[in-house]
Symmetry: C3
Subunit: 291 residues, 3 copies
């Protein structure tokens, strides 16, 4: 099986993930060495929503493979304001470039793009839909930090209702034999269709903290924080004192108040290594799609 586009985590099985992570791992070891597998190739970073972090990660990934990047970050994307439909924009960019990374506010936009595109489409987030490369880098980080995936206890905490990131990761984890815990206020619970019978849903971190191998903390949207009153889903030094000495703390970043800066020096704080893994996984993915 060979993927033409990366639209959803559902496209990935264990064999494909293993192949991808093999290359991402190789790239991480080669850090500092020049790789130019994609010399002469051009990637379009087509962002209808600003997302400096994600667009920068793809920009760096393509650049570090010797390729070039056409950045289209303008909020006032001119052709769009002239009323052009997404399909025409994609077909036009496909005349100029070899691959298109798309961030779009509407769910299903990436699939619509793929339906007309002669070049690979990578979904970099389509509204409340998916963000598959984020889930892949999260999974790669779990493996890199813990040395395995099967047998782990993974706890996700925060606003689980709106978090595209935890939705995609949750679906990807179904491929493995893991225990999953969800910690959130009742009004911000995981969507029911993503919760399996074996999963545990609680409102307090302390109920599952002791057994947790990977703690995935998500960003608090201020608006929602205010509506839920006393929001206490932030990690504290007290939590860390009671957690496993081998626990990994992950966060998709940017963080606001969910993780205090004082925890950054804790070796269990994996979120900046997670950022760097994003680069390696995206490099592996670009090589796979264009290689």
């Amino acid at each position: 099986m060979k993927l033409n586009h990366v639209l959803s985590v559902d496209q990935f099985d264990k064999a494909l993930i293993e192949e991808l992570f093999y290359h991402a791992n190789w790239i991480s070891k080669a850090k500092g060495h020049s790789i130019s597998h994609l010399r002469g190739k051009l990637l379009a970073n087509l962002f209808y929503e600003a997302s400096t972090r994600t667009s920068s990660s793809f920009f760096a990934a393509m650049s570090r493979l010797g390729g070039r990047v056409l950045p289209i970050n303008d909020v006032t994307f001119s052709s769009v304001s002239k009323g052009e439909i997404l399909e025409d924009t994609i077909r036009t960019l496909a005349c100029y470039t070899d691959i298109i990374v798309l961030r779009h506010p509407e769910k299903g936009a990436a699939a619509r793009a793929a339906a007309v595109s002669p070049v690979p489409i990578v979904n970099a987030g389509d509204g409340v839909g998916e963000h598959p490369t984020q889930a892949l880098l999260d999974l790669f980080t779990i493996l890199a930090e813990q040395g395995r995936i099967d047998g782990l206890s993974v706890t996700m905490m925060g606003d689980l209702k709106h978090g595209r990131t935890v939705h995609s990761l949750s679906r990807l984890l179904r491929l493995y034999d893991v225990t999953v815990n969800y910690v959130s206020p009742p009004e911000l619970r995981m969507p029911p269709d993503l919760v399996r019978p074996a999963d545990r849903e609680v409102v307090e971190l302390d109920e599952v903290l002791a057994g947790t191998d990977v703690l995935y903390v998500t960003r608090v949207q201020k608006e929602r924080f205010e509506s839920t009153g006393d929001y206490h889903y932030a990690l504290t030094e007290d939590h860390m004192a009671r957690a496993k000495p081998t626990m990994s703390v992950m966060h998709p970043l940017p963080r606001v108040n969910e993780i205090p800066l004082s925890l950054d020096a804790d070796p269990r704080a994996a979120y900046f290594r997670q950022m760097q893994n994003g680069l390696f996984v995206r490099m592996a993915l670009l090589m796979y799609l264009l290689g």
Copy 2:
């Protein structure tokens, strides 16, 4: 004769066009192969007006030749907001780069830039002035689609009064032995100085459709559409059924309602090939100016 700047279609004669198209054709055949004639060269994409399509085309053209692109797309172009004149901006960028592609809202801006610039200036549209590279890629597409230019019947339809694109193409076509038809509502006719005695001006496509080899449809500006009431200068499947089986349909894109999506599968729909030709012609032009 050697061009230093590309400001107007009037700078091009048949010999120069032939040379340019020879290289554009060679590039189109080499597609996929790495060309790095402009390695080490830097192009400034200086856009005072947003035009993602044109800036992307130049970005891709330079990148595919191994060169680099400095994109300056900000609407809030800082030095300008500090009151700097265009001439100083050009002289500054000429200290950093090897060629400047300029889009500016004022007619004559490209000529003003060229007057002070030690590096080549490429006019990528100056207000109601010119957009010479668009006209060149249009002409190249006519040749590529029809196998010749002399002897053809070319029909331009839509808002011919405001369309910079059709104005430039019309002037370039004067070099050849072609029949030209203009189809528009009376209030959106071609400017009189661009119409030659042999040209035909009509208000209905059906008057000239049967004999047309190349149908060039232009975008409808919504504001003008409303002012002209019942605007019916859109192409339909019915038109296509009555047109020549070898007719080429062109459009500078983006389209809004002038060409329905259902026509895209018709082999006569040449507008996406036209986009790709834009890349080839601009690559040839950059090689010519910097080679």
Copy 3:
């Protein structure tokens, strides 16, 4: 001594400046020849304030060394609007890139960035703080134009109170045996802590013009011009007629009305050569930091 970050002119002594200028001079001679010392390296151009001129100069410097540039010029820098602190943004970009050029509206921002960054930080202006690379290119231009620094009479004119540029240059000149004159209206005088006893402060250019070897004119901020009433700190042809035939006129650009266009043809007008020197000095600095 080896610099890890470039934050302030105070980090530079004469030996380091000499080494830097040796390389900048070598680069200026090699102009046109391809240099690819930084192939495979990626620079982040992180601009919280728009400054096309400075960001373009760093973009060109990195590109001309064979490196790549990730441009982050968005005013609506997304992660920031999500409340991320500067330190986290820096640590994230350091996961993707090899060096970060930072322009930030707050004094001390570059030092804060350097405190957490594993990759070199180059201060490209931090509010009313410093802009060290501007001062270095100014000093390089003085040397290039006059053939020496010691023994010269340098006059700075204009708004000396708010000009970050003249502040940094003034501090750098203390390393040399130069006579310094400051010309400004009383309310826009140089900050007292930057004035040495030997320096001369006057309100009229004519008081020091005759002996001046280098005249550094600064930009007039319109708002401040109005508040000071009859502002006459612009250079005229009459001034030039009375100045030394070997005097160099410098300006950080953009200019507004401080230097009339009619002076551009005067061989003493050094401001566009100053621009180009900025490219060479920044290339030398990037090579030094990443080489």
